[in-house]
């Protein structure tokens, strides 16, 4: 019984993905019609500058926003877990986690308004594009990293840091030699989470992006209007392969850190 349930669940999750991947190797122009085995859509993908540039931009934005999210979110999580009760802690904690529950439309619209007002007041950002998308993604990623790091620190004996200090470590050395190695898996996990969130976001990016900031999901989405070709399927296979590779490497690294 549980076995049947397992297969049903796995099928529900993966069958559409497998179908999508399968049709990437079809010779037909119509995305869900089998026309014999062919790699022509991978060749077309390689020749499509617009998709390639958008993919490269998306990767750079994802890496940049994930890194920013880890720095800011890690600090936020540490403050929430370790700085004890301070005035406004509850409000600060709730606000830091708010992007997790806000609808993306609201997040996107509010960030757009924020950027417009900021530009009117200070002249920066001069135009919306890759930078504004990166900042927008970093805010959502920050919330995820903060939650993950806070949970990890809450489960970690606070006297570890006291013990390090008692043995002669300054606060910075105690952080570097004890706290940081112990929260490193959470930081990595948070980085990957933020990276993935940024990579597949359409809604927020659509709000805050400009002419020079068209990310890969935005391009794919706009292709819908012109009619899809199996090029998109081929793109999905490439992304899937990359995701599996990154996930596998991350899992292996986390296990090594854990031991």
């Amino acid at each position: 019984m549980t076995r049947i349930g397992l297969w049903l669940g796995l099928g529900f999750l993966w069958l559409p993905v497998l179908l999508l991947a399968g049709y990437a190797f079809s010779d037909s122009r119509v995305p869900f019609q089998w026309g014999g085995f062919s790699l022509r859509w991978f060749a077309a993908l390689a020749a499509n500058d617009r998709l390639r540039e958008a993919a490269w931009l998306s990767l750079r934005i994802a890496a940049g926003s994930a890194t920013l999210a880890v720095l800011l979110g890690g600090a936020t999580g540490w403050v929430l877990a370790r700085r004890g009760p301070f005035a406004g802690r509850a409000i600060f904690g709730a606000l830091a986690g708010a992007p997790l529950v806000l609808p993306e439309v609201v997040t996107g619209l509010s960030l757009l308004l924020g950027f417009v007002l900021l530009q009117a007041a200070t002249g920066w950002p001069a135009e919306r594009g890759a930078t504004t998308v990166l900042l927008a993604h970093a805010t959502t990623g920050l919330a995820y990293v903060a939650v993950v790091v806070q949970a990890r620190l809450a489960g970690m004996d606070a006297s570890l840091e006291d013990a390090a200090r008692d043995l002669g470590a300054t606060p910075w050395v105690a952080f570097r030699t004890i706290t940081l190695p112990l929260i490193l898996p959470s930081l990595l996990a948070g980085w990957l989470l933020a990276f993935t969130l940024s990579l597949d976001d359409v809604v927020v990016a659509s709000f805050v992006s400009g002419p020079a900031g068209t990310t890969l999901p935005m391009v794919v989405f706009s292709m819908l209007r012109l009619g899809l070709t199996p090029e998109v399927n081929a793109l999905a296979v490439v992304i899937l392969a990359l995701a599996l590779l990154v996930g596998g490497v991350a899992g292996w690294a986390l296990r090594r850190v854990g031991n």
């Binding site: 004996d157 006297s159 390090a164 008692d166």
Partner: protein, 349 residues
């Protein structure tokens, strides 16, 4: 000169006093136990000495030097934590070497001293183990080795035996005291376990609600408790309440007895402590320092039985019945009890 001098030390948390004008001296090479219940301030005192908390008032001086402005990492003392606080990502070697590394001790000397410290706690050969692969007792020893490897003059121990099971606790207690003698360091041990404090320490400091209520050698504190709290906390003595009879004794209507301690009651004192093992059953006993009662309950404790005896006046007395005196009287037995005048200890507060 005392190794550690604490004077007028106060600490409040949100308006509640954790420590109130506490004075304490610790001599070189002394094993001092801080004994108290939860909320007595004993752990706060330890954290103040280690530097993890800042006092609201008072001074902490070590070998004449004011410690209060010194951050924890620069204080010349070490602490063993209740949770042991072993660094989970470092091996036993890495844990014990951590403090020496911070001091910049060269590699060769560091290795030698780590080996020596592990040898001292009986863990030679465990250097490459990770903490999660150790038993509770072994972790306790690593924590001890890590705290001792820097050869501190003063070691703070927060409930060092608290997490061990009963049979390991006794043996580890003896080892702890042997280590203290061998290193010549002063140990300050926080504990809520009176047996641990009495068995290991040279002096016991009893804390109640942030105040030091009694300080002295274990035997003196046990036999001559100063207050009701100490009498209750150490060995659970009977506290007999009464009114001064004007002749240096106490009238005790709830007991149906008059108490005549060997030394006259100090003015204002209205209670005496009487240990359960100092009360004897003696048929026909009468006069001062005797009482009558009926056994209500009996609890077997191994080397003796504890009788709960309801006295004629309504008070409940705890009476110890030694095993060698035969089987204890069953509930419902009427008993005549008596005690020596010297067994009565007048209580000041």
């Amino acid at each position: 000169m005392s190794l550690l001098e604490i004077a007028g030390l106060s600490k409040h948390f949100g308006g509640i006093a954790a420590l109130e004008a506490l004075d304490l001296r610790v001599e070189p090479g002394e094993f001092l136990a801080l004994l108290g219940g939860s909320g007595s301030g004993k752990s706060t005192l330890l954290r103040l000495v280690a530097g993890f908390e800042q006092p609201d008032a008072g001074s902490i001086r070590m070998e004449g030097r004011d410690l209060v402005p010194v951050p924890p990492h620069a204080r010349p003392l070490n602490m063993m934590f209740q949770s042991y606080a072993l660094f989970p990502h470092l091996s036993v070697q890495g844990n014990v070497a951590y403090g020496l590394k911070r001091d910049g001790v060269p590699r060769a000397e560091r290795d030698a001293r780590v080996a020596e410290a592990l040898e001292m706690v009986g863990l030679a050969g465990f250097a490459s183990r990770m903490p999660h692969r150790l038993s509770g007792g072994q972790r306790q020893r690593v924590a001890l080795a890590r705290a001792l490897v820097k050869r501190p003059r003063l070691l703070l121990l927060d409930e060092p035996l608290g997490a061990l099971d009963a049979n390991l606790r006794e043996r580890t207690g003896f080892e702890l005291r042997a280590l203290q003698r061998r290193t010549g360091a002063s140990f300050i041990m926080v504990t809520h376990d009176q047996n641990e404090a009495l068995a290991l320490a040279d002096r016991v400091a009893v804390l109640e609600a942030g105040r030091l209520v009694q300080l002295g050698p274990p035997r003196a504190v046990y036999e001559r408790p100063a207050t009701r709290f100490v009498a209750n906390f150490l060995g659970a003595a009977n506290v007999l309440e009464g009114q001064p009879d004007g002749a240096g004794g106490l009238d005790c209507p709830t007991l149906g007895a008059s108490l005549r301690p060997a030394e006259p009651m100090p003015p204002g004192a209205t209670a005496c402590a009487l240990r359960p093992e100092r009360i004897l059953a003696q048929p026909g006993a009468s006069g001062p320092n005797t009482a009558r009662g009926v056994v209500e309950d009996v609890a077997f404790r191994g080397d003796d039985s504890l009788l709960l005896v309801r006295a004629a006046g309504g008070a409940l007395l705890r009476v110890s019945h030694a095993e060698e005196d035969g089987p204890p009287p069953p509930p419902g037995t009427a008993l005549d009890l008596r005690w020596e005048a010297a067994a009565l200890v007048p209580l000041a507060g």
